[in-house]
């Protein structure tokens, strides 16, 4: 049984190596986040808390850095050099915001280090986390260069959702107990529901049919979510999507460690892609008047 699995995995791995690209993938979920549009309102983060049953840990635990914000808005205030030698004493343009959720790396560093294979790559191009399998060695979080994995340091279900707040919990996914690692799943419960529905109706999943909670909530539509498989697998029956348009427009590709760009006006980049993690989220640089 498992030998068969092993051989299947091996042949799939060899094919990916020899022919390149993504074979036998059902989807390749990806995202584009436009930092020009991001106003740092944290609505995506709040939506994520509501959608994914994230525990609200409280002020003291937040200060101890034990919070679990799968989608976090990073604020950078520091702007030392405004170019052309002009150094400003004051913050002229406000904070810089960087929404960070799991980058769903195709060469994820968290996957090989898990001792019990609780985190693995799905045929959807997702980096999945199996809560029931997790034993909490926390190696994945240590090996995530983006620090996007959060650990349940306590059992929160009593403190975080006292009666009757437990009724607000999303029934589509579990509430995690102490000792389990968790992270952004690209709202896998929504993906599952949409895929099931499409299958029942004997059709392919359409772009924009559903989206993640963060993308749905973003007031400026800075976050665009979609399937990118068509970009890499021409035989795929999946439709083209808005994400593919954006990635192509900004000349960002999967599977490279350095994007080739000739036009400086093209803003797309992926965070820490030189580490060869191959993240599935493209950021569009913020352009400012200096």
């Amino acid at each position: 049984m498992s030998l068969q699995n092993l051989l299947q995995d091996w042949s799939r791995y060899r094919r990916g190596r020899e022919e390149g690209g993504f074979h036998n993938y059902e989807h390749m979920w990806g995202m584009s986040i436009d930092l020009n549009l991001c106003i740092g309102c944290n609505a995506c983060s709040v939506a994520c808390y509501a959608e994914n049953n994230l525990a609200v840990v409280g002020k003291d635990k937040y200060e101890k850095h034990q919070a679990m914000h799968w989608m976090r808005i990073e604020r950078y205030w520091d702007e030392p050099d405004l170019g052309e030698g002009r150094v400003s004493e004051y913050q002229q343009h406000g904070a810089s915001f960087l929404p960070m959720n799991c980058q769903q790396c195709n060469a994820a560093t968290c996957e090989p280090v898990c001792p019990v294979a609780a985190t693995y790559h799905t045929p959807d191009g997702l980096n999945a986390q199996v809560y029931n399998r997790c034993i909490g060695s926390r190696y994945c979080s240590n090996n995530c260069p983006y620090r996007l994995r959060y650990f349940n340091f306590y059992s929160y279900y009593e403190d975080s959702w006292p009666e009757p707040l437990n009724l607000q919990l999303n029934p589509d996914l579990s509430v995690r107990d102490k000792g389990v690692m968790e992270k952004c799943t690209f709202c896998i419960q929504r993906i599952r529901v949409a895929k099931d529905k499409a299958q029942r109706e004997h059709r392919v999943l359409q772009d924009g049919e559903f989206t993640t909670a963060c993308a749905q909530t973003c007031p400026t539509s800075a976050i665009v979510f979609g399937d990118m498989l068509k970009m890499y697998d021409p035989n795929s029956t999946n439709p083209s999507s808005k994400v593919i348009e954006l990635w192509e427009k900004h000349q960002v590709e999967l599977g490279v460690t350095e994007q080739e760009k000739h036009n400086p006006k093209i803003r797309g980049y992926r965070v820490l892609e030189h580490l060869n993690t191959d993240p599935c989220i493209m950021f569009l640089d913020r352009v400012r008047e200096v």
Binding site: H65, V113, P115, V116, A117, S137, N152, F153, K178, G179
Partner: protein, 487 residues
């Protein structure tokens, strides 16, 4: 000779001799067996202190088990902290015994013979301590057996690519092998104990000595087994700490992703193991009055060995600095600067002082012969080596690629209690060991004395080497045949 009641502590020791060749063999048995009976008050105090320390860890672990990993102050991104640092520390300590008994056995350094037994025990017990830490640090430790590859009807196996799984294999293999090595090496001594014991001890030693009669065939088989296990253990010891270093080296984090980590960790392990041997050497010498076996000359040799290893470790440490400094990785360089200037810099600089500068004292004969000083130095060296492990784990977690996640974390009482308790646990195991098993190898000390006599006096050697068929020869031919050496 049994009436010889000289108190060796009051006479000036001959520093040039590893051991006094005139010790009567019966006296060796007597001295070692004496160390195993009638615990004095000091022993019970030591047991009490160990239990007290252990109780700290038990309380902290019960609390942590019930509450989660939160009270230990672990946070995002400090997912590992003292637990893993201390785990590496104890694994490092376990390399002492292998070094003394296996490596020095193979290179025929016979001065190891009076001191290797407790070093081997230290190997086994520090592994038993180290093995607890990866379990303690798990978020759901009740599921720890999932790391072991067992056939399950769910068809799930551990992830064989993960260094943590390699760790589990490496540690269990090393623990089994070193415990077996300790036991096999002890069989002739256990037979001596059996012949002198009464009551439950008699039963225990009878079972453990496996019917040892000390006949020729048994000795031959014993020698072969022992040598074979020594040869097996050396690559194992090297691989265990290389695999522990792979926990860090296989990651992509700056400060962990270092090619020289395997040899660096092995050198660090031998270093802290040697320092711990000096500590326990002095304690046993003092408490069990083993001055005649654990001589200053042997202490000096151990110190010299520690010094050599400390310099190897220092060299590898500075290689790591240089490789980072002249390397292309900006984040790695930033981390190195952060180690020297950031919030953890006092610990880091202390580590370099204790690990690289303090061992210079071991280079001077005057200091090496000063027992109280060597005791303090050996403890400080181990503090330095513990800090080294802490400074490998924590600064990387504190300062890595993601600037938003950078923060400083100091461990809470839970982590400190469990750290303290590990010393209690180790101490307890060791204290039980020294009263139940001979902590000095009787048969090997006899062997050592025999060989020393042989070296010192050719005539005695010839007499002792004389075999039955030699009796017909003229007794005046006193030069031994070369083939008879090393009986």
């Amino acid at each position: 000779m049994t009436t010889d009641t000289r108190d060796m502590r009051n006479i000036q020791e001959d520093y040039s001799k590893d051991i006094n060749e005139d010790i009567h063999w019966a006296k060796i048995n007597e001295d070692v067996l004496r160390s195993m009976e009638n615990p004095r008050m000091g022993y019970w105090i030591a047991v009490g202190v160990s239990l007290f320390l252990l109780s700290f860890a038990v309380i902290a672990e019960i609390y942590q088990y019930n509450t989660g990993m939160g009270p230990s102050n672990l946070n995002w991104p400090h997912m590992w902290d003292l637990y893993i640092a201390t785990f590496v520390f104890w694994i490092g300590m376990s390399h002492s015994g292998t070094l003394l008994s296996a490596i020095l056995h193979i290179i025929k350094a016979d001065w190891r013979k009076p001191i290797y037994r407790f070093a081997e025990a230290m190997t086994t017990f520090s592994l038993m301590t180290a093995g607890l830490f990866p379990i303690i640090h798990l978020g759901r430790l009740w599921n720890m057996y999932w790391v072991i590859p067992y056939y399950s009807d769910r068809g799930i196996w551990p992830n064989f690519r993960s260094p943590l799984v390699w760790d589990a294999f490496a540690i269990t293999t090393y623990l089994t092998s070193s415990a077996l090595f300790l036991f096999v090496g002890m069989i002739p001594d256990l037979a001596i104990c059996r012949d002198n014991a009464k009551g439950w001890r008699k039963k225990l030693y009878t079972a453990l000595s496996l019917g040892w009669r000390g006949d020729d065939r048994q000795w031959r088989n014993f020698r072969k087994t022992y040598l074979l296990m020594a040869c097996f253990l050396i690559p194992l010891a090297v691989s265990v700490h290389s695999i522990v270093s792979a926990d860090f080296a296989m990651s992509i984090m700056p400060g962990w992703h270092v090619t020289t980590f395997p040899p660096y960790f092995v050198a660090g392990a031998l270093y802290s193991g040697c320092a711990a041997i000096i500590t326990l050497f002095i304690l046993l010498r003092y408490f069990f009055r083993f001055e005649e076996y654990m001589t200053i000359a042997i202490l000096e040799k151990t110190c010299k060995l520690t010094f050599a290893i400390s310099m190897v470790w220092t060299y590898l440490l500075f290689i790591e600095f240089a490789a980072t400094w002249y390397g292309p990785d900006a984040v790695d360089k930033e981390l190195l600067i952060g180690k020297f200037t950031g919030p953890y810099s006092p610990l880091f600089i202390t580590m370099i002082f204790l690990g690289s500068i303090l061992p210079l004292t071991l280079a001077f004969e005057k200091f090496r012969r000063n027992i109280p000083m060597m005791f303090v130095v050996s403890l400080l060296l181990n503090v330095g080596m513990w800090l080294e492990r802490y400074m490998i784990v924590t600064p990387t977690l504190s300062l890595s690629y993601e600037p938003f996640a950078q923060n400083v974390m100091w461990p809470s009482w839970v982590e400190w209690f469990i750290l303290l308790g590990s010393f209690g646990w180790f101490g307890l195991l060791f204290l039980v060991f020294v009263k139940i098993f001979p902590s000095v190898s009787m048969y090997e000390v006899k062997e050592m004395i025999f060989h020393r006599r042989h070296l010192a006096n050719k005539e005695i050697a010839a007499v002792m080497h004389r075999r039955l068929d030699d009796a017909e020869k003229k007794p005046s031919t006193t030069t031994p045949e070369p083939g008879l050496e090393g009986a």
